[in-house]
Symmetry: C2
Subunit: 445 residues, 2 copies
């Protein structure tokens, strides 16, 4: 009975706002601002590593754009973030014959001694082989020549390879880039050392290309001697100030209730972080810009949040949790876009199944965008903390089959972004945020 | 009447040798030696730039393989080749903001002064824009941010960009890599300076990625200041000794008549030159190895030639022309494979149209391999000289749509090679070489 009443309410809400939603979608599809703005961000801001000049530019640039667009309460909320610097990187293969070796240090890695490290390599296919050959690791550079088995599984080698290699006495660690397609491409990303109490040394860790990983593995299998020289200037500095950049569209009836829409402002340093997560940043900003075109803003406040430090330790999400504790019960939903600006595929919701059903009903008008597919699942790492307090989390899903070709690499650039897909994402995200923000009944009721 | 007689002759020849050709094809398709050998070449030899240790290893390795296979008259015929060395390369963008810039020097380029060159960039879309803005080039680094319009047209910028930029006073030249697909990939290749009598200075020239080319062009169009620092240690040394590696399968009836089958042994230095032209090298060797499995060798001698110096100035082809002048009238045909080891697509013949028709008839048994498509056209740069003396030239064609993704880059590696395609190429090339070498009537008669 309760569900029946709910469905009627939702249907009525649907009918009354149908013309507005249709207008939102039509307007967004005809507007190339998100695409053009992402281009501008790539061109005038660039990559946005924690503590870098690029991140500073990004904060200023997004504040300026939000003000231009007419958002209110535009501000940068300070967040202290880990400040890792890459420094100079250089490597070459000494044996079986001398050749340059492209390396890209993993985020958080220590550097080598100034003169670099020269050592024989132990090339292994996976953690199992390392364990089986643990007595060969001492003093070696361990190379994880791990085949791609999807991001979730393969990324374990980037995250934990150095720790596992160091546990057995390795002096450095090289990891096959976490991708399945390569044209001589290195991919970085965060890595983690063991806790200090585990007494496992911190050794330098870098990614190599798929091509070099395959070559080194084949050479090792042939019994050829493999010796590598690598030099990395990486180091961790004191924490640096960064910020969550925030702006709002004030709700017309229930301004104290908040629908959050977000992307993360930081990125890795190679490339421009165009898809990861420049796309999410401009999409979140664009949702507000599109809503401000309406005759009447939605009932609830829509808050745009551009997170600091997604890539390393998610201090942005944590800082928001701490600074906005008292508001969290009034957060009706939180959306994060962090899967790239590819064509929309729907949304993934972290919430009770009744709420997921509600979102599914509310998203029905997105069918023309093929964005009405709602499934239960992960919604985003930056909103995770507030989602754990009970805020329904909504992850923006896209058809990103080629995402890991460019993810965390110098190939994550604006030329890989499609204008039409960006406009479709604006339409889908704006429509769903509007519907949730304007619904008579809160998603959480 | 003559043509009719010819057709009858060919039909009879076809029938008599049909079982042998079918056996050649079946045997080749079941044999993975070419694929495995290409892997070994990539692993134990590596890239093969003129004058490099890799080229020296390649000469020794191919001589050894030919002897192992049972070829006769196996020898390295000395060829003096240009000896260009890359040296250290490093660049970064200074303005609009500091970032690393991946560069890959073009073959033949001079280096920069030891301290490098720092200069404002003039970014142009094409030669026309450079001409229109010639008065802005003085003292600048000219960046050719040229869109891909197919290899033949786009490669003009790699070949002649430096000369055209220097003509207007530029101090260095950067060229968008000659490819249409990039994942942060640089592609080298040969470039040419103006003749000394033209008094155009020789300026350093390097390739940049598609991503950086697009970014720099967009930034320039926005009016942003662009300043680049680049350092290249490239220089041309005295000519170095290299060799055409040659071996033969002695003909059983007309050993003095020669059917030549070839690929080029040298490569660019990034990657392994797996497709360009490691594939052609192992395929040419494999044709001989397969023929040696027959109960009776073909009537004519099959000569395998692995050319020196295709990539820079084709001294290998020239040296062969000069050393084998008296034999050329007895060269019945010359085949070159230099389009990669992709699935076979047929052959392209440089000869009189009557001969092309003959080849088309002879190639009919290759239909099952989809390799019976014979067209008039270019057959190969290394055999060009002897083809100009009247030897029918046969170019091995493949379905290489993705060739320029990896061409002359560090992504031209064994992981891009398909075992089945290699076996199909062995079958197609061996079958056609056998048919020509064993035909009663010479292709040139």
């Amino acid at each position: 009975m309760k569900i029946f009443a709910l469905l009627i309410t939702l249907s009525l809400a649907s009918i009354t706002s149908a013309t507005t939603v249709d207008r939102i979608i039509a307007t967004a599809l005809a507007d190339s601002n998100a695409y053009l703005r992402l281009g501008e961000m790539c061109d005038v801001v660039g990559s946005r590593l924690n503590g870098s000049p690029g991140m500073t530019r990004a904060i200023a640039w997004t504040l300026e754009k939000m003000l231009e667009d007419g958002l209110i309460d535009v501000r940068a909320e300070k967040v202290m973030v880990p400040h890792w610097v890459r420094g100079e990187e250089k490597a070459h293969v000494v044996l079986p014959w001398e050749r340059p070796l492209q390396i890209l240090g993993l985020g958080g890695s220590v550097g080598t001694p100034f003169g670099g490290i020269t050592a024989d390599a132990l090339v292994v296919a996976d953690f199992e082989e390392l364990e089986a050959r643990a007595d060969e690791a001492e003093g070696r550079i361990v190379v994880f020549a791990t085949q791609w088995e999807g991001y979730g599984k393969t990324v374990q080698y980037r995250g934990h390879g150095a720790k596992e290699a160091a546990r057995h006495g390795a002096v450095a660690c090289l990891v096959r880039s976490v991708t399945n397609n390569s044209l001589d491409t290195t991919h970085t990303g965060v890595m983690r050392y063991a806790a200090p109490e585990d007494s496992i040394p911190r050794i330098p860790a870098a990614a190599i290309t798929v091509e070099d990983s395959e070559l080194l593995l084949r050479q090792a299998r042939r019994g050829l001697p493999i010796r590598i020289h690598m030099k990395m200037g990486a180091r961790m500095l004191d924490d640096a100030p960064s910020a969550n950049v925030i702006g709002e569209v004030r709700g017309s009836e229930k301004p104290e209730e908040i629908v959050l829409v977000s992307g993360h402002l930081d990125s890795w340093d190679p490339g421009c972080g165009a898809h990861d997560d420049g796309a999410g940043v401009v999409l979140a900003m664009e949702v507000a810009r599109q809503l401000l075109k309406l005759d009447r803003p939605p009932r609830r406040t829509v808050r745009v949040v551009l997170w600091a430090d997604e890539e390393m330790t998610q201090q942005g999400g944590l800082a928001y949790l701490n600074a906005h504790q008292d508001e969290l019960p009034r957060h009706v939903a939180a959306m994060e876009s962090d899967s790239g600006g590819y064509p929309p595929a729907g949304f993934s919701v972290t919430a009770d199944s009744l709420i997921i059903d509600k979102v599914r009903t509310l998203a029905a008008p997105l069918a023309e965008l093929d964005a009405d597919h709602i499934r239960e699942g992960w919604s985003g790492v930056d909103i995770r903390n507030i989602v754990e307090t009970g805020v329904p989390g909504i992850g923006h899903r896209v058809h990103n089959d080629s995402y890991f070709d460019i993810h965390h690499s110098a190939a994550d650039t604006f030329d890989k972004v499609d204008a039409e897909a960006m406009a479709q994402n604006v339409a889908a995200m704006t429509a769903l945020i509007y519907i949730i923000a304007d619904a008579e009944e809160s998603l959480r009721d």
